[in-house]
């Protein structure tokens, strides 16, 4: 296989990671909303934890974006 095409295929495979992170972020907000509707009184106090979970899930997706960018533009 040509190295250039292998790079592009690798970048495309890294996009799977972004999709997986989308599932993760959706899970974080979905679970939060589900439980916030059960107990709206406690919801405001948990917003910090919501965004920590969001940040952790998002970071991993962003890392796959970094891998794709490195493959396309740097490597």
């Amino acid at each position: 296989m040509e190295p250039a095409s292998a790079k592009l295929i690798g970048a495309g495979l890294a996009a799977i990671g972004a999709g997986m992170a989308a599932i993760g972020v959706g899970n974080v907000f979905g679970s939060f909303l589900e439980s916030a509707l059960r107990n709206p009184g406690a919801a405001d106090g948990q917003q910090g934890r919501l965004f920590i979970g969001f940040a952790a899930a998002e970071l991993l997706g962003l890392l796959s974006f970094v891998v794709a960018m490195i493959l396309i533009f740097v490597a």
């Binding site: 965004f51 970071l59 970094v66 960018m69 533009f73």
Partner: protein
């Protein structure tokens, strides 16, 4: 990879160019020319100063502007009170400046000023800018931690109630997760901003090439891409706010570790 003919190069917007001074302005081998990155840092600092100065009237019944500034300071104040407790009060100025600086930088970088010929530069899309911000937060954590707890600060790496045989392993894991913090903090902001701007630029390439392709399928692609671009722009405004909030929130959590250990 070089940009092909007629293709919009999505990475060109991140190029740092000297606006004032040349490549030969050096101190100890480092270039000190005034770049577009430095210009937009100065602009966001100035905008932040104007915004805060406009709200420092201290009237008993606040006007709109004072209310806007006070709601931001109150927001940071309550965040620090919730995460650190009473000891968090002294970090309000730092976290407030950090949050507002990143927020202004992110939002100014998204402004459609290119229509007027002024191209905004998002300096938060560079790891050198966000990395310094995160290293500052990390340094404050180290200084506060060692100042307040001395060598007892190392108990941060051994959670309370760890079984004795597990201590060497847990220590290493906690140490690595502690040392990785400045990277993950800076990397998150920089990649989130860069990803959004690359996406907008790629979509703008679709719009331009779609309309240039002539009648038929071209305008359909162009119009659809343009609608998508408007939606993504709204999403990017949301991301700009969320990333500034997440940066401030994580900094305050790390400060909590330094203040209260585990």
């Amino acid at each position: 990879m070089a940009a092909e003919q007629g293709k919009v190069d999505p990475m060109h917007q991140f190029a740092i160019e000297p606006l004032f001074g040349t490549d030969h302005w050096e101190i100890a081998g480092y270039n000190i020319a005034f770049t577009n990155s430095a210009l937009w840092m100065a602009i966001s600092t100035l905008a932040l100063l104007v915004f805060v100065a406009g709200g420092m009237k201290r009237q008993l019944v606040p006007g709109r502007w004072q209310m806007a500034v006070e709601s931001f300071t109150g927001f940071i104040d309550s965040m620090l009170a919730a995460n650190i407790g009473p000891a968090g009060k002294k970090y309000v100025p730092y976290i407030f400046s950090l949050f507002m600086f990143i927020l202004f930088a992110n939002i100014l970088g998204l402004m459609p000023l290119g229509v007027l010929g002024i191209h905004p530069f998002t300096f938060t899309s560079h790891f050198s800018a966000t990395g310094v911000l995160s290293i500052m937060a990390f340094a404050i954590v180290l200084v506060v931690g060692f100042w307040k707890h001395g060598f007892h600060f190392f108990s941060l790496f051994v959670p309370h109630g760890t079984p004795l045989p597990m201590i060497p392993l847990i220590f290493v894991i906690e140490l690595v997760s502690f040392l990785v913090r400045p990277f993950s903090l800076g990397l998150r902001l920089f990649v989130a901003m860069m990803a959004g701007h690359v996406l907008l630029e790629v979509l703008s390439g679709f719009v331009i090439n779609g309309f240039n392709a002539g009648l038929g399928l071209g305008p359909v692609v162009g119009v659809l891409s343009f609608l998508l671009m408007i939606a993504i722009q709204a999403l990017e405004l949301l991301v700009a706010g969320i990333q500034a909030y997440v940066f401030a929130l994580l900094t305050s959590l790390y400060l909590n570790d330094a203040e209260n250990l585990h």
